[in-house]
């Protein structure tokens, strides 16, 4: 069995062909958003990149590098402001060492907001390759599981997938799906199967299709419209949904463009 994949060179095989407009600092999120809207790329708001000290400088840089190098990404345009702690050109250098389909822009050197949007749209279009789809064998695919709450079908789902060669990484370090998602992103998973905590709604990660499985909690029952799978979904139904999403079916949170990035921080902002 094989799935529709995209050969993203050194980033690996993706199950989506995203272009990422990555604001390297909170101050660039609006400019990034305008570029992404014009080019059909993905971007997200976050609050990092400046006023960070200590281990957070390296930590956030590595986190952003992992995002930009994710296998579901075909190309990345980094948008910086200029005076921030985390310098866009240094991030770009780290990425360019691996992936040539990376570029960066700095608002303070690009004539302001409109100038950066204009150059950004042009740069993004130049970066965008038409990647050929190809039949990706299951053995090249990687599923992440956010185990914020337990599910009785888990071990059987994992066994079924690993038997056919799908790599599986489970994250249950946090009760917070958002932090588990970030760990799974850094592990390079293609799709996330999320079992959110009973008190948490369905959620997702911008670059990685996220399948939400409900629990029997009152909240999840009330929010049934937002979950891809009901609490008593069978092993077969769960595995079938995973294959279908590998193959291009949009998950519910993916379809509405939801997904906030939650990055670990060690120290308060200065």
């Amino acid at each position: 069995m094989s799935m529709q994949g995209f050969d993203h060179g050194n980033r690996g095989i993706g199950v989506r062909d995203h272009q990422l407009i990555l604001p390297s600092v909170v101050c660039s999120t609006r400019v990034s958003n305008r570029i992404a809207k014009e080019t059909g790329a993905i971007t997200f708001a976050h609050q990092h990149g400046c006023g960070i000290i200590g281990n957070d400088v390296g930590g956030i840089t590595e986190f952003f590098a992992a995002l930009a190098n994710h296998p579901n990404v075909g190309s990345t345009l980094i948008v910086g402001l200029g005076c921030e702690t985390l310098q866009g050109n240094e991030l770009a250098e780290i990425l360019l060492a691996k992936n040539r389909s990376t570029n960066y822009l700095v608002t303070q050197e690009s004539g302001g907001v409109q100038g950066t949007v204009n150059s950004g749209v042009k740069a993004a279009q130049e970066l965008r390759n038409k990647y050929q789809t190809f039949a990706a064998p299951l053995s090249r695919l990687h599923l992440g599981i956010d185990l914020s709450s337990e599910n009785s079908n888990l071990s059987e789902v994992v066994a079924t997938l690993t038997e056919v060669g799908v790599a599986v990484t489970v994250s249950n370090s946090h009760k917070n799906s958002g932090l588990n998602f970030s760990e799974l992103m850094e592990a390079g998973v293609h799709v996330i199967l999320s079992f959110p905590d009973e008190s948490q709604p369905a959620s997702g990660f911008p670059l990685i299709p996220t399948i939400n499985v409900a629990s029997k909690s009152a909240l999840h029952t009330a929010l049934s419209g937002d979950f891809d799978l009901v609490s008593d979904a069978t092993v077969e139904a769960i595995v079938a949904k995973i294959y279908s999403v590998f193959n291009g079916e949009l998950t519910k949170v993916e379809a509405i463009g939801a997904g906030e990035i939650i990055a670990n921080r060690e120290v308060r902002s200065v």
Binding site: T85, A202, A222, L223, I262, R268
Partner: protein, 387 residues
């Protein structure tokens, strides 16, 4: 120009300089829907954030931030989106005690899906925007103005041009009976003794000193010497050499008025006078805290240039140097670099800035507002690894 202030009077006697309809998601997973409602509406605004209901060391600070932001007098109404947990509903209750009078609550658990929230939310937001447009400004006292001072991307001219010009404008506003707030504890480090000497009582002076000392202790506790991370790389490229130099320039924003008090992050600014608030230097965490404090207009001086703004607070950008103001004009509302160019006197630029603050308070749009820069960041004191 005429010195008449016209603003929106709220039912509790506070004054709004804007009449926004704010769509506020009380859980990170609701942010995308909130953004979509605002984007598709007739003019509502929204913010996004990364809080998913964690109850940790930062819980009280986050609750205070959301409730204050919701209750900011620049909001005509706030449309909350919630999954309905007691902690989220508690934020709404607290906002009511801070003066929030007009609001709607969309409970996702009652509506059943984000799709339904979007549909109902868009209709509600549009109805509120239409109501907001019917409200008119009336003559307001100077105490209606609650000014927040901010600087970001400072350079060697900040302390000579834009910051002292803001000081001139701030002093005049304080004389007239407005409130004015200096923040950024990071950026008064090394200048605290000068500010403390201007406190109206010795106790307030001690509080200023202690707030800075407490801040430095908390950073040292992490095993990091903040003096190695400040001034930032951008500041150094802009010509600043030491944190003390940066601080002495940053403190100029507060002019020469006496300090009437010290406020914790996001404490309500409820009386006229000049205050110091303990905020991070991080531009957006500071701006968000100002919004939560009920501050309704901000002057933001910048040497390197920054486009950022708030969903609900008009943010006036003042350039410290003409080179930058000319290179990136769509970010800058006023160029104070003309002082260093020898073209204008400090007092004249300060007076121009006062006039601009009044014009913006009366409804004139800032560059950040025109560009729809609606940044929002929660300020946290503790690490997120334990969440």
């Amino acid at each position: 120009m005429s010195e008449v202030l016209k603003a929106f009077e709220r039912s509790d006697g506070r004054w709004g300089l804007r009449n926004h309809v704010l769509v506020l998601p009380l859980h990170s997973a609701l942010s995308a829907t909130a953004r979509k409602i605002a984007d598709d509406s007739l003019g509502a605004v929204a913010v996004s954030h990364d809080w998913s209901g964690e109850v940790d060391g930062d819980f009280d600070r986050i609750v205070k931030t959301f409730s204050g932001f919701a209750a900011n007098p620049n909001n005509y109404a706030t449309l909350f989106i919630t999954i309905g947990t007691p902690n989220e509903l508690g934020i709404i209750e607290l906002a009511k005690t801070l003066g929030l009078s007009k609001f709607e609550v969309l409970n996702v658990a009652e509506l059943g899906s984000m799709g339904k929230v979007y549909e109902v939310g868009l209709a509600l937001a549009n109805s509120l925007v239409k109501q907001a447009r019917l409200a008119s400004r009336v003559n307001a006292p100077w105490s209606a103005i609650k000014l927040g001072q901010e600087c970001g991307g400072s350079d060697a001219l900040s302390g000579i041009t834009a910051n002292p010009a803001l000081g001139v404008a701030s002093d005049r506003l304080v004389d007239l009976g407005a409130s004015s707030v200096l923040g950024e504890t990071t950026e008064i480090l090394g200048a605290e003794h000068l500010l403390a000497a201007r406190a109206i009582t010795p106790e307030i002076g001690s509080q200023i000193i202690e707030t800075v000392a407490r801040y430095e202790r908390s950073i040292n506790y992490e095993g990091i010497d903040m003096r190695g991370a400040q001034p930032s790389r951008g500041n150094i490229e802009g010509g600043l050499t030491t944190l003390e130099e940066k601080s002495l320039g940053a403190a100029k924003k507060a002019g020469n008025a006496m300090f009437s008090g010290v406020l914790e992050y996001a404490d309500q600014v409820s009386s006229p006078g000049l205050y110091f608030m303990d905020t991070p230097g991080h531009d957006i965490e500071q701006l968000t805290g100002y919004g939560a404090a009920g501050i309704n207009i901000v002057v933001f001086t910048t040497g390197r240039g920054t486009p950022t703004g708030s969903a609900i607070i008009p943010t006036i950008k003042v350039a410290t140097n003409t080179t930058m103001a000319d290179a990136i004009p769509d970010l800058i509302d006023l160029n104070a670099g003309t002082i260093a160019d020898g073209l204008n006197m400090l007092a004249d630029v300060g007076s121009d800035l006062f006039d601009l603050i009044l014009a913006v308070a009366n409804g004139g749009e800032t560059k950040a507002e025109k560009g729809l820069h609606h940044e929002f960041s929660l300020s946290r004191m503790y690490n997120t690894v334990i969440r």
